[in-house]
Symmetry: C2
Subunit: 364 residues, 2 copies
């Protein structure tokens, strides 16, 4: 059977290894596995969120509230915006999908950083648009601007803090950049890790309200998968002026967020203390990674997130090291597919990091 031409360019996505797979492949007990590969919040789910979900489990037979009234109201209050400025997706991934399908096509292009979140490219391939990449590994807004002038892309993606490197742009720089972009180019500011950056350095904090008040061509993305500790429940959001939200809404499938996901996300917003505590612990533990790198003479990209990217030395191989860790039940992210001889490690709990250092000590 023949399928659409665009499919020929698409490879099937392979996610990071889940704990279940390591259990099956290596016969390691589930409780002995340390998963530091997907930048989840290692402190687990807030007890209040667990309770709210268990209380709502009897409603699983009912379709979700497709208007997402309560979650939108809570997010609108948090950010000082209105529900009309919000679209909620099955992860912020899905909002990226809506944006790409709404704006990009085989006659135009998107502009992304050389090393950045993989989903921009994956969705772009679905619509068959051209993908322009910077040469610089860090977001170089001067280069972004030059490429924008040259290619007039339909969408520019700024991922700040950036995944999988962890560095972040100054908010001022982003605002100045946006001043120079024509309002028919959509600029997506992906703030999946923004809660971490905002805690570490106020200069990195981008306020979605100010952003969308000043620019009619910007879409800010946030997620419940990281600091809010709900990676398994698939809830993310886009914030923009109403005309952009209305366009994206046309592509939103009904009931794209589950009944329990809506409850979980809403109750997570009611337990900000849990989030704050997770973030504080994250940066205390991150110091240990910085010291480890220093001791070993490795370079570590300054990180505004809950992960660190450890750049290996010549003679060390990220694939070998990742595989050796995996055999010990420790899952990290090998960045060889990004053409980096580096591993990305989620900053875990004290105990998880103890285990990681114990093993990594012998490998680098």
């Amino acid at each position: 059977m023949n399928f659409n031409e665009t499919l020929k360019n698409i490879k099937t996505y392979e996610a990071g290894k889940p704990i279940e797979l390591v259990v099956r492949e290596f016969g390691i007990k589930s409780e002995d596995i340390v998963k530091l590969a997907s930048n989840e919040n290692p402190y687990g789910v807030s007890p209040k969120v667990k309770e709210a979900v268990a209380n709502k489990a009897g409603d699983m037979y009912l379709y979700p509230d497709d208007s997402m009234f309560e979650l939108k109201a809570a997010l609108a209050e948090k950010f000082g915006i209105t529900s009309q400025n919000l679209i909620i997706g099955s992860g912020s991934d899905q909002v990226i999908e809506f944006a790409v399908h709404a704006k990009a096509n085989k006659n135009n292009s998107i502009l992304i950083n050389s090393v950045t979140f993989a989903m921009y490219e994956i969705y772009a391939k679905q619509v068959g648009c051209q993908i322009i990449r910077t040469a610089s590994q860090e977001h170089d807004l001067k280069e972004f601007y030059e490429l924008y002038k040259k290619h007039n892309p339909a969408i520019i993606f700024l991922c700040t803090p950036n995944n999988p490197t962890g560095d972040a742009l100054d908010a001022n720089a982003v605002f100045s950049f946006l001043e120079k972009i024509d309002n028919d180019t959509l600029v997506v500011v992906d703030g999946a890790y923004m809660e971490y950056a905002a805690y570490k350095d106020d200069a990195k904090k981008i306020d979605p309200k100010t952003l969308i008040e000043q620019f009619d061509n910007v879409l800010y993305l946030g997620t419940f998968s990281k600091a809010y500790a709900l990676g398994g429940m698939r809830v993310g959001y886009g914030i923009a002026q109403k005309h952009i939200i209305d366009a994206l809404y046309k592509l939103r499938p009904p009931f794209n967020v589950t009944t329990l996901s809506l409850v979980a996300a809403r109750s997570a917003l009611e337990d900000e203390a849990f989030v704050k505590e997770s973030i504080e612990k994250n940066f205390i533990q991150m110091r240990r990674y910085e010291k480890f790198a220093e001791k070993k003479g490795l370079s570590i990209i300054p990180s505004y997130t809950n992960f660190v990217t450890l750049v290996l030395k010549n003679g060390q191989n990220s694939t070998d090291i990742s595989e050796n860790l995996l055999k010990k039940g420790i899952i990290v992210r090998n960045l060889s597919s990004y053409n980096l001889n580096a591993i990305r490690i989620t900053v875990g709990t004290k105990e998880q990091n103890d285990r990681l250092f114990e093993e990594l000590e012998q490998l680098v």
Copy 2:
């Protein structure tokens, strides 16, 4: 800002009213609302499923197992197929999305029944393909064949039992139809309500295994939203030969089913007794609707599902009747948007149906 041309043809989908909305709009207490609009299983969630989900709630911070190993294994066993013949979606809706995006485009068409599930058209508009409809309200396979010969569609959708009418095709007729279709046309057999049809009349039962063994161009769809009582959790599946599954997989976003949805669906498969009992009760209660229609001289489309379509008489207006019911806290589906002067009512529990008849008695 300009968006892609295809968006101009798309209206934003409006889902049936959730209980929450009726509470807000009419000030009716949540416990007084009878929702018979979305064909959920009115007997609620199996206690075993609720327990499994509550036990797993602590894992919400972890991304889902993207290989969906366990749910796939359970489904493969149920149907006597392999995991390679399966793709799992956020509802079977999402598998429809994959199929349309994989096969349809602005240079071809899809062929659907005049009155059928709305999502076929919604996804078709996203890719800008032509939409061919039969004239017949019931699936008339002779007319389907004539339109197929005339238009050579990329996809043919057979919805059996059909939503929102409730009638179903004989399995034999579907198999004979498939014999005549070229293997570059994808035929989607949407069996969202198949568990109900199979119980009521063996002749309507389509076995996915036999289907995909005989035909390399067919995609069977099933869901956990109806008989399996998990409408809120968004889990559906497609069954086909591997070459079709592989193509659809290219369009599947990672983590498209939540951690708790995977657990809920898998545990629902372990409580088939609950499903069987729900279906038995459904058809006992459906007799009451048939008697009511007879008494009132209304026609009811013979239904192989968990809903009935009550066709109103001249002088009766489906919009007025639906709105009058809504004011009493009873939510049904007005079919005026399908150009039918009819209302679709989910067959509820005994108590829900008592309430419905009490009010409807005075309106028709």
